[in-house]
């Protein structure tokens, strides 16, 4: 039985890997052969190696009433999952699971692993209760499933990052009594299992997590005793040795909230927005790369891929959110189009390549 009759296997596969990700569920429901083809690791590998994988930025974004520009409102905005395709400029929405019909949790975390998009934790938008829930959206089937809750007590404002292939890492945050946590966890998406990791050296509330150069890095945050006084240190977890590195003091240039800290990839290094500027870490020193355009002075989210940064922000509280792309090599800013309905505040996001 051939994938496509008359075509040799590799040529047929060459056609299938060019299909847009939105058609994955269709391809998977044609027949057994096509279903197994699209699920095979080889499919994803070839899609990426032939540069047919699509870049997406999934984000937790506030829904703005059409027709109004601003998000100034008395009630809490309702957050939905938006998807932006930087290569085509296309914006779309992923329908939420029933549990999130009244909005995604506030301050939830979003990471991607393979074809899965994982939504972790957050506060219920109506009751403000902290939740350790895990919801996973699969792009191959366009379906949601619920994963195992994060173990341990309630945890919010934690660092979260994935190695994009198998594992989601969680560290720090705070519990219901606002005690900063130093504990860390890892979640294997395929087997739906959580494991405890060794504790971090420092308590880190509101720290930022990134995965770079094979290690999970927890950046900044603050301990229980000094609420809101962000530290400049960071520590890295190496999955190979299952241990945390020495704390690196003065990893950040200044004591600031590390929310906009992002890893640009192996070649580009890491970035951070601070004081109206976009900073880059070159070697051991932070350098100013560019001034942020006024329209995105308040940066809500920074995503990075392939030498480009996508920044979403607003000019002030309650204002419309706009997106800019920043090319790292040329240091040029380019404003991106966002249709009505996709101009709300962005809590968090993640870059995927599928």
């Amino acid at each position: 039985m051939e994938l496509i009759s008359g075509l040799p296997e590799d040529v047929a596969r060459d056609c299938l890997i060019r299909v847009s990700y939105q058609q994955f569920p269709t391809v998977a429901s044609v027949c057994k052969l096509w279903k197994s083809e699209i699920h095979a690791p080889e499919f994803r590998r070839q899609r990426r190696s032939t540069k047919h994988a699509q870049k997406l930025i999934a984000m937790v974004q506030a829904r703005v009433e059409l027709g109004t520009g601003s998000t100034k409102r008395l009630t809490n905005p309702v957050y939905r999952l938006s998807v932006f395709e930087p290569e085509t400029g296309n914006w779309s929405e992923i329908p939420p699971p029933p549990e999130f019909y009244s909005g995604l949790p506030m301050f939830c975390q979003l990471v991607s692993v393979g074809y899965d998009l994982v939504v972790l934790g957050g506060l219920d938008p109506n009751s403000w209760e902290a939740s350790n829930s895990v919801f996973v959206y699969n792009f191959l089937s366009a379906k949601w499933r619920r994963g195992a809750d994060m173990p341990g007590g309630p945890r919010t404002f934690f660092a979260c990052a994935s190695d994009s292939e198998e594992t989601v890492f969680v560290a720090g945050g705070h519990d219901n009594e606002k005690n900063a946590l130093r504990s860390a966890l890892a979640y294997d998406v395929t087997s739906d299992l959580w494991v405890m990791l060794p504790d971090m050296e420092a308590e880190r509330d509101e720290c930022k997590g990134v995965f770079c150069r094979g290690r999970f890095v927890a950046v900044g945050g603050y301990p229980t005793e000094t609420q809101g006084r962000f530290v400049k240190s960071a520590e890295a977890f190496d999955p190979a040795t299952r241990s945390w590195s020495e704390v690196k003091e003065d990893f950040l240039d200044c004591a600031t909230c590390p929310r906009t800290f992002v890893d640009g990839g192996d070649d580009e290094g890491v970035f951070l927005c601070s004081g109206g500027d976009l900073m880059a870490l070159r070697g051991d020193t932070w350098q100013m790369m560019a001034t942020l355009p006024g329209e995105i002075r308040n940066v809500a989210y920074v995503g990075a891929f392939d030498g480009t940064l996508v920044l979403i922000g607003s000019s002030g509280y309650g204002e419309v959110h706009v997106s800019f792309a920043f090319d790292v090599k040329s240091c040029c800013w380019r404003k991106l189009e966002s249709p009505e309905g996709f101009r709300g505040h962005v809590q968090t996001g993640c870059v995927l390549e599928i």
């Binding site: 039985m1 496509i4 009759s5 008359g6 075509l7 040799p8 040529v11 060459d14 056609c15 299938l16 060019r18 299909v19 847009s20 058609q23 569920p25 269709t26 391809v27 998977a28 429901s29 044609v30 027949c31 057994k32 052969l33 096509w34 279903k35 329908p95 939420p96 699971p97 029933p98 549990e99 019909y101 009244s102 219920d124 109506n126 009751s127 209760e129 902290a130 939740s131 350790n132 829930s133 089937s141 366009a142 379906k143 949601w144 499933r145 619920r146 994963g147 195992a148 809750d149 994060m150 341990g152 007590g153 309630p154 945890r155 739906d192």
Partner: protein, 363 residues
Amino acid sequence: MSDAAMAVVKPEMKSYIWLQTVDGSIQQVEEEVAMFCPMICQEVLQTGMGSSKNYAISLPQRVNPAILGLILDYCRFHQVPGHSNKERKTFDEKFIRMDTKKLCELTSAADSLQLKPLVDLTSRALARIIEGKTPEEIRETFHLPDDLTEEEKLEPLRNITDDPRIRLLNRLYARKRKELKERKKLKDVEVEEEPKDERSVEDLLSFINGADGDMKGTRTNKNKKKNRRRKDHAKDLSSKNENDKDLNPLPSAYHNVYFDNALEASASKHSRMQNLPAISFSPKFEVIDGDVDDDLDPAMKEELDREVEDFARRLNSDWPERMQILSLGQDRRLVPPISMNSNGSTHLYTALAGNSISKVSGS
């Protein structure tokens, strides 16, 4: 080797390469066009073949004469260095306009001739064709078997949840939908016969209701009132089952009468369902019943009512336990899929699960 070399050296004379397709036919092709194909180019340079009829290059089996013609058209255009990118793109767009079968043959042939740009072009075209089709259409186009089970297929109503209650509910919905479709088809056929039916049914009507001479109009009003009452009972479900609207039953008196009786009979069941804690799926059934059941025959209706009641009973019995489990945050069940066209089943699940899930707190 010398022949080929000589052919190249005479610029005034057009040089030709001789090609033989698998069916045995031989043709000559302008040299610059044929050499655009890496496979042919390789043959000429390495073996010296192709310089005369007797030494024609044998093309791979996947290249038949018709397809070869197409490929050569492609090569003839693209080997000219003068064209702009835009011109090439325009040519390509027009070039690939052909039926899917031929497109597959072309892809295959181009691949065997190692003509990568054409393989890219045709693969992309095939991908676009796939993107524009439903699974059923794809199976038809590419002659693929329909061998996935209902569970494995990804229709919105089908789901992969463990919960048997959701599965039963969806099955009921699916069956109702099917019946509605069939009823609608029959109805479309019966439309002309309708007036005749009504008259004889008027007689039946008065017989059943004790011949108090009720006009059809009054009866209809009574039904409408009942309908509205039932709908008021239903919790706020913003989207109705689409089929409800489609159906728009013709107010045949016979059907209305039956509907009255059926409503009364199942009223008690419905009110019992109303008492379920924080679960509003029963009203949804009522809404469907109200609009649709006129058309179902009595036996079918009874069976469905029974199933609904059974479902409600089962749900009622272990739902409190379920809520308990959920609130402890230890339940790792799968959730049913989302249907983008907001039909009844999706909102139904909200009603079922919405209240409990939002209160989950980690422990």
